[in-house]
Symmetry: C2
Subunit: 321 residues, 2 copies
């Protein structure tokens, strides 16, 4: 039987690949640089192959095989962790650390309500948060640097298991006095002639908003070079008359338009929405936990979205939720 690589050595390998620096990698692994160096050499000797290209000056350069081994090492470490995680999950359901990734168009609006709710429902859960774009979060999920994602579909979740938790409708946000502000509901066709403001590239909300308008993601370069970096910025831009936009009901419910005088109108016809949902690695040892958390999340989303009427009810005739 073949000799297996030690988890330690694989951890050295993966950490080195992530930091591309022996010293820093050693620090992260909480060992000395010599230990990490020796561990990597031992790994190369045991596998009888070259992982690093040592002819390449002082930068850490991986051979093609080295990169493949890094990927496989990552997978192996994830599988190893899932053994101990499964044991821990059985010992203490809904407890322990949980690394949750959230996209920027959900986080600021849902977390203020969600976090206290989760704390009271699952007091032993220790939530670590990271806010980033869908693509980055999915990468981190697959690299086992996050356990659970809260994001908006449709999007590319790269093979993750998912659970939908809420439907989040889109509203047209108009500056006060806009020519469309008098309408009860705005047909999609009317948007074509408007200057539609969007988030910068990388935000899934951008693609979803474009899809709602019947456009492809690549269709619209930001003609004037102004794409917003957050929904708050976007709201300010609309309030200043630079154009109109689509806002998720969730953000409105959280009061993002409060005090701006913005007019909110539903799109005419079939509702346009995004689906909020959880995503995790297939076979994740704590998927039962994640689903229970998802059920709780369904409640919270409902509460938050119903609360929306306090903010938008007066000016928005029909509200897709």
């Amino acid at each position: 039987m073949t000799l297996l690589p030690s988890p330690q050595q694989l951890r050295y390998l993966v950490t080195l690949a992530e930091s591309r620096h022996f010293g820093r990698a050693a620090q992260i692994c909480a060992v000395t640089q010599s230990t990490l160096s020796a561990g990597l050499l031992a790994l190369e000797r045991q596998l009888d192959c070259h992982i690093l290209d040592r002819a390449a000056g002082r930068h850490v350069v991986f051979t093609p095989l080295g990169l493949e081994l890094v990927e496989r090492a990552r997978t192996a470490l994830t599988a190893l962790e899932s053994v101990s995680e499964a044991a821990r999950a059985a010992r203490e359901p809904m407890g322990g650390p949980l690394r949750l990734g959230v996209i920027p168009t959900i986080g600021p609006f849902l977390l203020p309500t969600l976090m206290p709710a989760l704390r009271s429902a699952f007091p032993r859960l220790r939530l670590y948060l990271r806010e980033d774009t869908t693509a980055n979060l999915v990468d981190r999920l697959n690299a086992n640097r996050l356990d659970l994602l809260l994001l908006a579909t449709p999007c590319d979740c790269g093979g993750a298991d998912t659970m939908p938790v809420a439907r989040d409708g889109f509203l047209v946000a108009l500056p006060p006095g806009h020519r469309l502000a008098g309408e009860d509901a705005i047909p999609v066709a009317a948007l074509a002639t408007e200057r539609l403001l969007l988030l910068e590239d990388g935000h899934c909300l951008r693609d979803q908003a474009l899809a709602v308008c019947g456009l492809l993601a690549g269709d619209r370069g930001d003609q004037d070079g102004f794409a917003a970096t957050s929904l708050h910025t976007l709201v300010q831009m609309v309030a200043n008359g630079l154009g109109i936009t689509l806002l998720p009901a969730l953000a409105v419910a959280a009061g993002i338009t409060d005090g701006t005088g913005l007019v909110l109108r539903p799109l005419a016809g079939a509702g346009a929405w995004r689906t909020l949902g959880l995503a995790w690695r297939p076979n994740a040892p704590r998927s039962a936990d994640y689903q229970a958390l998802g059920s709780r999340l369904v409640e919270t989303c409902r509460e938050v979205l119903e609360n929306q009427r306090a903010h938008a009810g007066a000016i928005c005739v029909s509200l897709p939720v």
Copy 2:
């Protein structure tokens, strides 16, 4: 960061689960029984959980959590091995040990030709063979006890990556002087009134033959309690006038009907066939090797199946290959 279980301990765990006996498991792991016992206790202590139900007399009984951990341990070990395997595969393409599983309705007819061909094409390959039913082979593939399967689709390959290598036509095998023996081609409908002999349950060929006849797998219990355990037996039964059957062209090509006087006829209309193919675990480190081997296999199958005419050409008018 969580403490990871050692690969050693996981190997003890998986081996114990497979042998359900400390002593034998220790022997397989090439350690003493005390080492294996201590390793398992250490694992339970590290994970702070019960893996074995020690109240259950002298038999090895796993707790539900224990069974889950075994499964995850298997996965983790496979992932670990894939690291060293990837290195080995890069160092020596098409070399080293390869555990190949073959179904009984392919093995005896293809391997005599295939093995020498592979030996000359890939002299450094060390082939270990196992013949078993599809379901058992797939289980062993997933448990990382086999690397590559040679089987016949359609069948349930349970998530494996596959590569078709040949189309293997079905022929109607009739006893000499059978009332249908005069026909050039036999319509499927004619089979309904015949006593159709089949392999015993578990052979995919049985299900595939039934499907060709438009029947479901469960439709036909072996009315008379006689199902054959091998194609050779089946041929003898047909030769003795107990009924008729369908034979794969591959078996005919290998001469399974030689000297029996059996009459072979194609089915009328669209050809009925099974597809021979390879299957391996997704992300298997040597999948490039497997595909190269598959390409070679395509050649061998073609040769063998063309050779069929030497055996059946004279009596079989049109031959689906």
